[in-house]
């Protein structure tokens, strides 16, 4: 059975997802010791060529799979510490992972998820066809998360985090991804049914609704990956020194930042710009 990592990168004018995917893919490949492949589009490829990172991409990724750039008017507010901007967000085609993956068993990760341990390697042989991040795990010890970080809406079902998804290419996972696609195509209907905001498409919600339906319209802890340790986009990655990442964590209801650092721990860094600012140091780790 072939196993490997799959990621998506569709650049916007605000975020260099291609660069992030090289960092994330390279770290995942190094720490999980399996190949990685990238799904991207022609304009992002052209940008990689222009910005001289295509060679690095070719060395990190076993396959670079070119697809049509998804057409979307998705926008979201992205913070970089205390500053924020509303930016386009092209990430609506992750449900195509089933068709595009070159592997029998695939770990699908977001480009802002940096893997520094082999924790997820324990899941390659787990006898579950589809596994998804069971929840978000805020690095801060207090409670900064809202209801909508745990549930798809105030009256909706549990929110799983599609930041990490592992699946085996078989009939069961095909049904899962077909259901994710169906939810995506009928997003307004499911938004009415589960009472979530339909204005912005979220993979996490489409995956969560699909899991809820396929689990027999109930919540199930089976088929989950570990909670996704996360720094929010109001937090700032301030330095990368060998394998140590130092952050300033934004304290809730305060202007204060709390310094902290991690090493050898997988981390979802929502502040993408702060990752890009440290791209050189992160690339040295690959």
């Amino acid at each position: 059975m072939t196993i490997g990592i799959l990621m998506y990168a569709h650049n916007s004018q605000f975020v260099d997802y291609a660069l992030m995917s090289i960092i994330s893919g390279g770290l995942a490949k190094k720490h999980l010791a399996v190949p990685a492949s990238l799904v991207t589009d022609l304009s992002t490829m052209e940008w990689m060529q222009e910005s001289n990172i295509l060679q690095k991409a070719n060395s990190v990724f076993e396959h670079i799979i070119i697809v049509d750039r998804p057409v979307t008017d998705n926008r979201r507010t992205l913070c970089d510490g205390k500053t924020q901007a509303v930016v386009p967000f092209v990430n609506s085609n992750r449900a195509s992972a089933y068709d595009l993956t070159p592997y029998n068993r695939t770990l699908l990760i977001d480009s802002d998820y940096l893997i520094f341990s082999n924790r997820l390697a324990e899941y390659w042989n787990v006898d579950q066809d589809v596994l998804i991040g069971q929840s978000i795990n805020d690095i801060y010890v207090g409670d900064r998360l809202g209801y909508n970080d745990r549930y798809i809406s105030e009256t909706g079902v549990k929110l799983y985090w599609a930041t990490t998804v592992m699946f085996t290419k078989n009939n069961t996972s095909k049904i899962f991804f077909d259901t994710v696609n169906f939810v995506k195509e009928h997003y307004s209907y499911y938004a009415d049914l589960f009472r979530f905001d339909s204005r912005q498409f979220r993979n996490d919600i489409a995956f969560s609704v699909a899991k809820h339906i396929l689990d027999g319209f109930k919540s199930s802890a089976v088929g989950t990956l570990p909670p996704v340790l996360t720094t929010l986009d109001t937090d700032v990655l301030t330095s990368v020194d060998h394998d140590r990442l130092t952050f300033l964590i934004a304290a809730p209801l305060s202007e204060k930042y709390i310094p902290t650092s991690i090493s050898n721990t997988d981390i979802h860094i929502m502040n993408k710009q702060s990752v890009i600012r440290h791209a050189d140091q992160l690339m040295e780790m690959l």
């Binding site: 324990e122 787990v126 006898d127 795990n137 690095i139 010890v141 709390i258 721990t265 997988d266």
Partner: protein, 115 residues
């Protein structure tokens, strides 16, 4: 500012960093105590260790154990499985102890984040 209040606020800052460092350390150890075996997923804790140790006194061949998802998993060689569990447990808990001691000895935010 009253020096007593300043001292309290400084300690509060230290304590918040300490708490986050402790949390991420625990996260790292939790990862090391997760063991995927023969299609199952096991959380290595005192319950599992005790149970496997007890089973090993009754039987040396194959046994079936419930994994973290309550799925029955065949363990062909109980002794090898037990050795692997204990080895991972010792490694993880010793690392936890050592790193935690380093954290406790770090009396400033600067020292905490360099651990």
């Amino acid at each position: 500012m009253d020096p007593r209040l300043q001292a309290a606020l400084d300690f509060s800052n230290y304590q918040q960093t300490f708490s986050i460092q402790r949390k991420t350390l625990k996260e790292k150890i939790e990862a090391k105590l997760t063991y995927g075996f023969n299609g199952g997923l096991f959380r290595i804790d005192s319950n599992l260790l005790t149970f496997v140790e007890m089973l090993s006194t009754k039987r040396s061949g194959g046994v079936v154990l419930m994994d973290a998802n309550n799925n029955p998993i065949l363990i062909d060689n109980l002794m090898d499985f037990k050795d692997e569990l204990f080895s991972r447990y010792f490694e993880a808990t010793v690392e936890y102890y050592e790193k935690y001691q380093q954290l406790k000895k770090s009396r400033s935010v600067e020292k905490l984040i360099s651990q």
